[in-house]
């Protein structure tokens, strides 16, 4: 798990010679997920997503602490951490990949850009290759916001859902990401 910390820090402390690269970062991104079933809806929110985007190379990474997800009910949070995500063993989730559709030139002008991020999504210690669609928005002041909505199948990442509660957990979990980047 240590290398999940190293990459963003490596990008942050890269030599001055690389300062010409356009790098954006956030430490307070937002990820929420929704499990929607007729039995129960479960929403988890995490406002401490760390992400770094290198507009020169297209490299992107985001990482999140599982225990920083918050729920309406304490029992949901406890079951999420102890029974499903096993967060004592797998404390973090991450995505590492490459973005196409936006680069240094696009970030210099106001606009909305459709992007595709291809890479590995690691949840519960299991990495799966994914392609995530999203949007980068650059406003008149040059602020950059990235958003994406995608779905995750918990069982693809080795998360076991007991038969007793199978009807309470959606097969496809809806994930929503919102990142307000700042230039590094």
């Amino acid at each position: 798990m240590r290398n999940l910390r190293i990459l963003p820090i490596a990008l942050l402390i890269a030599p001055v010679a690389l300062s010409a690269q356009e790098r954006l970062a956030t430490r307070t991104g937002h990820i929420s997920f929704l499990s929607e079933t007729p039995m129960e809806n479960i929403v988890g929110d995490n406002h401490k997503v760390t992400s770094v985007f290198d507009a020169t190379t297209g490299a992107i990474e985001f990482a999140v602490l599982i225990k920083a997800f918050e729920f309406e009910k304490a029992l949901m949070q406890e079951h999420f951490n102890e029974n499903y995500m096993e967060s004592n063993t797998f404390p973090k989730a991450s995505f590492k990949g490459k973005v196409t559709g936006v680069g240094e030139d696009e970030l210099k002008k106001e606009g909305t850009y459709l992007i595709s991020a291809q890479g590995d999504l690691t949840i519960h210690g299991v990495a799966r290759p994914v392609t995530i669609k999203g949007t980068f928005m650059v406003d008149a002041a040059g602020a950059v916001k990235a958003t994406s909505d995608f779905t995750v199948n918990a069982e693809d990442h080795g998360i076991k859902i007991p038969g007793v509660v199978r009807d309470k957990i959606a097969k496809e979990i809806k994930v929503s990401v919102k990142l307000d980047y700042a230039k590094m």
Partner: protein, 139 residues
């Protein structure tokens, strides 16, 4: 004990059990000031612990179940974020600090950058920063 009494006892036990189950199901997560403090540390030492040995620091400050860490430090940044506010406690690492997430209404009005403060929060680990959530101010 006659059948009517037994029946009433069963109904009473079922009601008590049902009430407990309902209360437990609807229990909300506690803020940091509603739980006992497990560790007291300053921001620099907390950061150093995670950088030196993340696994050991996670075991000590995050624990296997939620636990409260009381941390002292100097505010290096106050970042409003909608209904939340992030209070960043500075460390000797310019790139990283201890980020304490508050409900915006819970941040004392007189807190400013440079102020020395004490905060209780649930430690969730470290990405670039050490992250505490559901924080409250210690006056």
């Amino acid at each position: 004990m006659n059948k009517r009494t037994i029946f009433l006892l069963i109904v009473l036990l079922a009601a008590i059990g049902g009430g407990f189950a309902w209360k437990e199901y609807h229990r909300t997560t506690a803020k940091a000031d509603e739980l006992p403090v497990k560790e007291t540390v300053n921001a620099q030492d907390l950061m150093t612990a995670f950088i030196t040995d993340e696994d050991a620091a996670t075991a000590r400050f995050v624990g296997t179940t939620e636990q409260v860490v009381q941390v002292t430090g100097t505010i290096s940044a106050i970042d409003p974020a909608g209904k939340l506010t992030n209070i960043v406690l500075g460390t000797d690492n310019d790139l990283a600090g201890v980020v304490c997430e508050f409900a915006a209404a819970d941040v004392p009005a007189d807190w400013r950058s440079g102020a020395s403060v004490t905060i209780k929060g649930i430690c969730t680990g470290m990405l670039i920063d050490v992250v505490l959530v559901r924080c409250t101010a210690v006056e």
